[in-house]
Amino acid sequence: MLKITDLHASINGTEILKGLSLEINAGEVHAIMGPNGAGKSTLANIVAGKEEYEVTDGTIELNGEDISELAPEERAHNGVFLSFQYPVEIPGVSVTNFIKTAINETRKAKGLEDMPAKDMLKMIREKSELLEIDRKFLSRSLNEGFSGGEKKRNEIFQMAMLQPKLAILDETDSGLDIDALRIVANGVNKLKSKDNAVIVITHYQRLLEYIVPDFVHVLHNGKIVKTGDASLALELEAKGYDWIKKELV
């Protein structure tokens, strides 16, 4: 599904990714871990197409198509979803109307008519129940005054509505208490299928107890330096990252 080959990328002249390669197949869950500043969020933003980053070398392919020149919305239309580490507040636009606009713009890009209002409402009801989201919450301005947990739940709610092929969860666990973590993880697990893939970016093993990865990658200094199965996350939790850094020397 996603194939990243020898990716180099920089922001304001500083190189952050230094030859990163990663391949993800449909039906898989990959965890990306690593110390602060390793380039985890950069990787997420680059796959999503944030313009501030410059790809200097390498390729990003989604289902065989190079997406590195596509606008962020085009990547979204192709099924890329990024759950933001810090979701942006947009005063004046309600959650419901935002997601309606997002879905209909995506449909428009595919040459489809707007989703009938009845279907939209039904879907909103189903997905908000899945994420245990109160209906009142849906008429509030997007992310404005939301708690950390509400923001993350709202991200996964949008993911549920948009049904992406590739979901990247950038530190979705940060700022969540244990109940919210369970709800969010449960939501992600329900959305998982053999046709889509999930990348979980996290510092901690905690989230991976709920969303069990097929692969765990350690990102350090702009490259993936180690790949293993779920047990690698436990090892990292127990030993920290220093042993990996030492191995590299």
């Binding site: 999503a48 606008a71 979204a76 004046g92 935002f98 606009t101 995506t106 948009l162």
Partner: protein
């Protein structure tokens, strides 16, 4: 010949042509002298520092339109709020169009200034209200000197007008450059209630200069909602001088939607003569190209226990320029005044400009006065967030701008006006999305 000289010279011809009314005659003559003395405003005047009429005044304006033009309703329907029933007072090149209008004398007067000025039954109202609150400044004096046509609206005590009134001035461009000076008078007696929509619309690419004066009197408990739709052609300029006097317990709101035109100058003046008055001033400005919109507001708090609420949003793209000058005067006697002023601006392009100036003159000591002014750019993180969810950049920008301006739209009380403005905004921003936020 300079435009000023041409105007002064044509005054005699003007007076000869119209029905002479002695009371108004003196007011007109005095106003002409005033204009002769003051001339057109220049940038040397503090009040006109950021708005120059020089280029506009170089046009060879005809003071009186050459001939009357007729237009088909079908051709101009889109400029009306046509999905609801309304009274209409419509002018074409400054002349009344009975064909496009729908006036009334049934329990209230919604008719023409020219007949109000000439018929004896209106004499008392004219004597009591005409030119009583309009300033004696340059452009208002110019309008007063040539005051003859416009809308005359008189709402007697306890009358709630059952449908909105539209005042529309069309210009057709028979002349190379047309100057019109509509004069409106609106008197709403005790407990009266009226909603008015005003529009100036050029149907030509030729130059147009409109210098309009509107006086509004709201008696005790009266309620007036006024909506100004300014979305004119690129060669049309507008100087709107609106003066409002309010008495105890009255509420007057003015919403100004400025989406187009060459130079648009709004002089909006509120005088509070009573207690427990509420004055609401709101505006959305969305312009681009070389368009220029200037809002000069004045709220004069004269007596205690009154409120004023100002909320102006501006979005400026390309080389457009904006001015917001919000003056609030709180007299010594006006204790317990609550005066709020908000002016928020987004500069979409780095070539656009806004000059914002809150001006508070407070002489009372027990008041709540606040003002906030921001100038910013569209949040690029918010844009990326929206794009990530599949909303293209252009639509995302439009959504952000709409959300930004939405606090002003929320207080529009006529749903059809609200949906019209929403559509105008969508068209203006070049998108086709329903902003039912």
């Amino acid at each position: 010949m300079e435009l000023k000289d041409k105007i002064v010279e044509s005054y005699v011809a003007f007076e000869n042509e119209i029905n002479m009314n002695t009371a108004i005659h003196d007011i007109r003559s005095e106003a002409l002298q005033n204009f002769e003395k003051l001339g057109f405003p220049t940038k040397k005047l503090e009040e006109w520092k950021y708005t120059s009429l020089n280029a506009v005044l170089k046009n060879d304006f005809s003071i009186f339109p050459n001939k009357e033009n007729s237009i088909e309703f079908a051709d101009v329907k889109k400029y009306f709020i046509h999905d609801i029933d309304t009274y209409k007072v419509v002018f074409i090149d400054g002349k009344y169009s009975s064909f496009l209008s729908d006036t009334t004398h049934d329990g209230k007067d919604v008719c023409l200034m020219s007949s109000a000025l000439s018929k004896s039954k209106y004499k008392v109202v004219i004597e009591n209200y005409f030119n009583k609150i309009a300033k004696q400044d340059n452009l208002t004096s110019l309008n007063t000197a040539f005051a003859n046509e416009g809308a005359y609206i008189y709402i007697p005590k306890n009358v709630e007008v059952e449908k909105p009134i539209q005042i529309i001035n069309f210009t057709t461009g028979n002349d190379v450059a047309t100057m019109i000076q509509p004069r409106n008078l609106i008197v709403v007696e005790e407990n009266g209630h009226v909603q008015i929509i005003e529009r100036h619309q050029s149907l030509t690419e030729n130059a147009v200069l409109t210098n309009v004066v509107t006086e509004i009197y709201a008696a005790r408990n009266a309620n007036v909602d006024f909506y100004k739709i300014q979305n004119d052609k690129n060669n049309s300029s507008l100087v709107d001088n609106t003066y409002i006097e309010q008495k105890t317990n009255s509420e007057v709101s003015v919403h100004t939607f400025s989406f187009g035109g060459n130079i648009t100058r709004n002089n909006l003046n509120f005088y509070q003569r009573g207690e427990h008055i509420n004055s609401i001033l709101k505006g959305i400005t969305i312009i681009e190209g070389k368009q220029h919109v200037d809002h000069h507001t004045l709220v004069h708090h004269i007596e205690p226990n009154c409120e004023s609420h100002q909320d102006y949003k501006g979005i400026f793209d390309e080389r457009s320029t904006g001015v917001f000058n919000g003056k609030v005067i709180v007299e010594k006697e006006a204790q317990k005044t609550n005066a709020y002023q908000q002016n928020n601006n987004v500069l979409v392009s780095d070539k656009s400009t806004i000059n914002a100036k809150p001006q508070l003159e407070i002489f009372a000591d027990d008041v709540k006065c606040s003002h906030g002014c921001t100038i910013g750019q569209l949040d690029s993180d918010a844009l990326f967030y929206m794009q990530q969810r599949g909303i293209p950049k252009k639509e995302g920008k439009a959504l952000l701008m709409y959300a930004f301006a939405n606090t002003v739209l929320e207080s529009v009380k006529i749903p059809e006006v609200k949906s019209r403005i929403t559509k105008l905004i969508a068209t203006k921003l070049g998108v086709n999305i329903g902003f039912d936020l």
